[in-house]
């Protein structure tokens, strides 16, 4: 028998019904374990959720596009059979004031012509850049499909893996190694400056480096995150992004149906108040209503801070470990504004909606983005923020009434720690929402008149409503010092915890956030392979 022991009614209780918790549940149930998933909210999905906030409009409340979700999970859990449908994004549009802006299309010749309006050189170098990035992304992708390598171990299996990674890196030649080094150390802007001259192109590209981090596009280390945008894959096509039909909740629901098909039990409106620990072992969970549920294994899909400092409690943990968790960087930096509108937004200079079948980036310049970051550094939300908007109802009319649309806007920066204190976010929420709508409306006249409903989510709201500590969408920044064998803490990157029988499976573990499902998958595999060995680092 493996680490998932039969005791009480369940082999494993999973805290949190987000996509990672559900993926983990499905894999455990598929292996014959008796699994219970407990979700605090009335809907499944965590931050990958669809909700009808306004009659007739389905909102992808938090996470809004899919790319990195592991193809192996889709195959192994038969998610297509369980209702997963993904519609690829076709365009990337960057509007500009007084100009028709830049639209990048899935047709390379058309993209080349668009970029040539700003720089013929950049238009041509773009494919070369993509090739170089794809080569590197393929290397890094090896890391996200398997547990983090452990450089401190003498275990031959670990050494073999490190050797293989080293050899593959060598195969990329001295140019390739140099490029990896640049990616790890440079800022997104410095890195892009080596390739491109036109800011119209560089600004929207550079923001890939800052999504979900409390860094600016000129901050060192942000180049690395650019790669994440070249790792996306849909049906074997790299670099593609898509919408989940019916909203991002569709991904979670497909995982939930898969888990149930294997016999897992899923309960909503079942908030776990704490994880019961006795003598260094997790023995069960206590619900908010006082119910207690015993299980051989407890798996937390919550972020590391909520798991250890909230649900377990520091008194059950070693002080050094507690300090590592306390120092783990969450510091959410983004908000979300969702709109229901009664007509299609109009961008002067462009007709129709072809150019809106993808994402819309409000990123008119590098200085604009850096200024937005400046305000955040000093505890204010950006008055003119970076916005990544999508209108999924164009591609997927099922999410809005005919002729009407939902607009989903990811907004950066909205620092969790505003200078008035995070608890004062509710008083600033609508002012933040106004700033976002004002910003988009500058590019999109008539927007304000078309709004039927508006939802504003600040980092504080995300913490309150979705349990994302400090509102961090990735359960902790995806900066290099918090990735791989350091995620979430040195020595604890293999889904185990210092508490026996307590495991982690959320985005705070390797390989991190971004709607990948990989943490849930890899955690389940680790549990099933653990052969009941005592849990030590």
């Amino acid at each position: 028998m493996t680490a998932i022991r039969k005791s009480g009614r369940y082999d494993a209780v999973i805290v949190g019904g987000g996509h990672n918790g559900l993926v983990c549940a499905a894999y455990l149930a598929r292996a014959g374990r008796k699994v219970l998933v407990l979700e605090r909210r009335h809907v499944l999905g965590g931050a990958a959720v669809t909700e009808e906030l306004y009659p007739g409009f389905q909102f992808s409340v938090c996470s809004y596009v899919v790319s990195l979700f592991r193809p192996s999970i889709i195959r192994e859990l038969e998610l297509a059979r369980h209702g997963l449908e993904i519609i690829p994004l076709e365009t990337a549009f960057t509007p500009r004031l007084g100009d028709r802006g830049l639209c990048r299309w899935s047709d390379p010749a058309r993209t080349r012509r668009e970029i040539s309006r700003f720089s013929p050189r950049d238009a041509e170098i773009h494919p070369e850049f993509s090739l170089a990035m794809t080569k590197m992304a393929r290397y890094v992708r090896n890391l996200i499909d398997s547990p983090a390598p452990d450089p401190t171990s003498w275990n031959p299996v670990e050494l073999w893996r490190l050797l293989r990674l080293g050899r593959e890196l060598q195969r990329q030649g001295s140019d390739g190694v140099a490029m990896h080094l640049r990616l790890l150390t440079m800022s997104a802007v410095d890195f892009l400056d080596r390739w491109f001259e036109s800011e119209v192109l560089k600004a929207p590209m550079s923001v890939s480096g800052i999504i979900g981090t409390f860094l600016g596009v000129r901050s060192p280390g942000t180049a690395y995150v650019l790669l994440h945008h070249y790792m996306g894959e849909i049906d074997g096509a790299f670099r593609s992004w898509g919408y989940s039909k019916g909203g991002t909740g569709g991904v979670s629901l497909a995982c939930a149906r898969a888990a149930e098909s294997f016999g897992a039990e899923i309960r909503t409106e079942s908030a776990v108040e704490r994880i019961r620990v006795a003598a260094g072992r997790a023995t069960g969970v206590v619900l908010a209503n006082g119910d207690e549920i015993e299980a051989g294994t407890i798996v937390s899909s919550c972020d590391p801070r909520l798991t250890f400092l909230g649900l377990v409690g520091s008194k059950h943990l070693d002080g050094d470990f507690v300090r590592q968790i306390e120092r783990y960087k969450l510091r959410g930096s983004s908000g979300k504004v969702n709109l229901a509108v009664d007509r299609l937004p109009r961008f002067p200079g462009r007709e129709g909606s072809d150019f809106l079948r993808g994402d819309i980036a409000i990123a008119p310049g590098i200085d604009y983005l850096e200024r937005a970051y400046d305000q955040a550094k000093y505890g204010e939300f950006s008055e003119r923020p970076y916005i990544n908007a999508v209108i999924p109802s164009i591609m997927d009319p099922s999410v809005a009434p005919p002729g009407q649309h939902v607009i989903s806007m990811f907004v950066q920066y909205a620092p969790y720690d505003i200078k008035e204190g995070a608890d004062n976010w509710p008083a600033k929420r609508e002012a933040f929402g106004d700033a976002v709508v004002d910003t988009l409306a500058e590019y999109c006249p008539g927007l304000k008149e078309s709004i039927l409903y508006r939802q504003v989510l600040t980092p504080w709201d995300m913490e309150q409503e979705f349990g994302l500590s400090e509102g961090n969408i990735f359960h902790g920044e995806l900066s290099l010092e918090q990735l791989l064998f350091q995620r979430p803490a040195a020595g604890w990157a293999r889904y185990r915890t210092p508490i026996r029988n307590l495991w982690m499976c959320g985005s705070g573990t390797h390989p991190g956030g971004g709607l990948m499902g990989a943490p849930g998958q890899l955690a389940a595999q680790a549990m099933l392979n653990s052969n009941g060995k005592p849990s030590s680092g």
Partner: protein, 400 residues
């Protein structure tokens, strides 16, 4: 979405088949009628008019233009005289082919380069130290290929150029129905033929006037508008390689295996090593000394074998009349994989089943017997093929 070329009003009116494809971002006719064969036979026996606007075109100008082009390509362009055109390729620093095309010297300090892929940025990154400017003239220049044995007579009746003086791989400025054009004695069909370069601007544009004039004059000479399907058969007969089909630009290759050197593409004759430094020179010198792993060859695929395989299923031999470009493995007699045929066609003129292939160097000698994969009735077979020299079709009039 592809763009219309400057001849679109004319080509679209004639394209009854509605068979179009996207060629480098332009609408391009595959064949004007549902069958391309009349266009092929016009190209070989009368004349065909092909819209080749989508070729990328660059104007390289300046006192150092010749030295610059000698530096970035494999040929010593400083030796190209005014009024001449040459065919060549250019390589990356490792001596792997990036693209192939032609360079025409229009005057002492003005060259026109054609390319299959966008190359402006690649050229510009290498201009430091050269007094040279590069203009992407693709959007402003239309190009027509007038090809076939009657092309000279058609041109003689439409231009003031001294057509007889316009020898193989020469270029001249001329007026065609009063429109300023450049005419080069070049083409992609391996036949007598010309390419006409015209400014695309204007209302009843120069481009349309040129098209109309050639068509009018061509009426008595069997001229047909021809599409890419017909041209593809002729270019296989002529043994011309195609970027993206017979090789991949080093820019787009994720793996080293996919890249090719000029020597491996049969372009060794364009490489001039002993001269001032040029991009890829050191690597090409090394390869020249050490020998190349692969060689580019022609294959004559056995008709008897083809017939025999299909006869085994009770069928007559099946053979597409268009050229194929889906790549087929080539084996030695022991069934070991030795390379691939990258495109091929049945030649109605030579009555041969032809293919262009890249094989291990040991198999490159003409007369070598190899085997090529053939799919018949959903099953794979290996049939005999003989290595032969390209170009397959090489009539005296090609160079006349």
């Amino acid at each position: 979405m592809p763009l219309p070329s400057p001849f679109h009003s004319r080509t679209s009116a004639r394209c009854r088949s509605l068979l179009w494809k996207d060629w480098a971002g332009y609408h391009a006719v595959r064949s004007y009628r549902s069958c391309h064969e009349p266009e092929y036979f016009a190209l070989r026996h009368a004349a065909g008019l092909i819209d080749v606007t989508p070729l990328f075109k660059y104007e390289v100008r300046g006192p150092d233009a010749a030295a610059f082009l000698a530096h970035v390509t494999v040929r010593d362009i400083t030796r190209l005289s005014v009024g001449r055109v040459t065919y060549l390729c250019w390589c990356d620093g490792e001596g792997k082919v990036v693209d192939d095309g032609t360079v025409a010297r229009l005057d002492e300090e003005h060259f026109r380069v054609t390319a299959a892929e966008p190359t402006l940025s690649w050229f510009e990154r290498r201009t430091r130290g050269y007094r040279v400017t590069i203009e992407d003239s693709t959007p402003r220049l239309g190009a027509l290929a007038l090809q076939g044995p009657n092309s000279r007579e058609i041109l003689r009746r439409t231009t003031d150029a001294d057509i007889d003086a316009l020898k193989f791989f020469r270029v001249a400025q001329a007026r065609l129905d009063g429109v300023e054009v450049f005419i080069s004695r070049t083409g992609y069909t391996g036949d007598l033929g010309y390419e006409i370069w015209v400014e695309a601007a204007g209302s009843l544009t120069g481009a349309e006037r040129v098209y109309d004039a050639l068509e009018d004059a061509g009426r008595s000479f069997g001229l047909l508008p021809a599409g890419l399907d017909a041209m593809d058969v002729t270019r296989v007969e002529a043994g011309f390689i195609m970027n993206g089909v017979d090789y991949f630009s080093a820019h787009h290759c994720l793996t080293e295996m996919r890249k090719s050197s000029p020597y491996e593409l049969g372009l060794g004759w364009t490489v001039k090593l002993e001269r001032d430094p040029f991009v890829g020179q050191a690597a090409l010198e090394r390869e020249k000394r050490a020998g190349s792993r692969r060689a580019f060859v022609g294959l004559d695929v056995s008709w008897a074998d083809l017939e025999r395989v299909f006869a085994g299923y009770g069928l007559p031999p099946e053979l597409s009349s268009t050229a194929w470009r889906d790549g087929r493995p080539v084996y030695d007699h022991d069934g070991r994989w030795i390379g691939q045929a990258t495109s091929g066609a049945w030649s109605p003129t030579l009555k041969k089943n032809l293919a262009l292939a890249q094989l291990e160097s040991a198999f490159a000698t003409p007369g070598e017997a190899v085997e090529i994969e053939l799919t018949a009735e959903y099953r794979r077979h290996r049939i005999a093929a003989t290595v032969i020299r390209a170009p397959f079709f090489n009539p005296p009039r090609k160079r006349a």
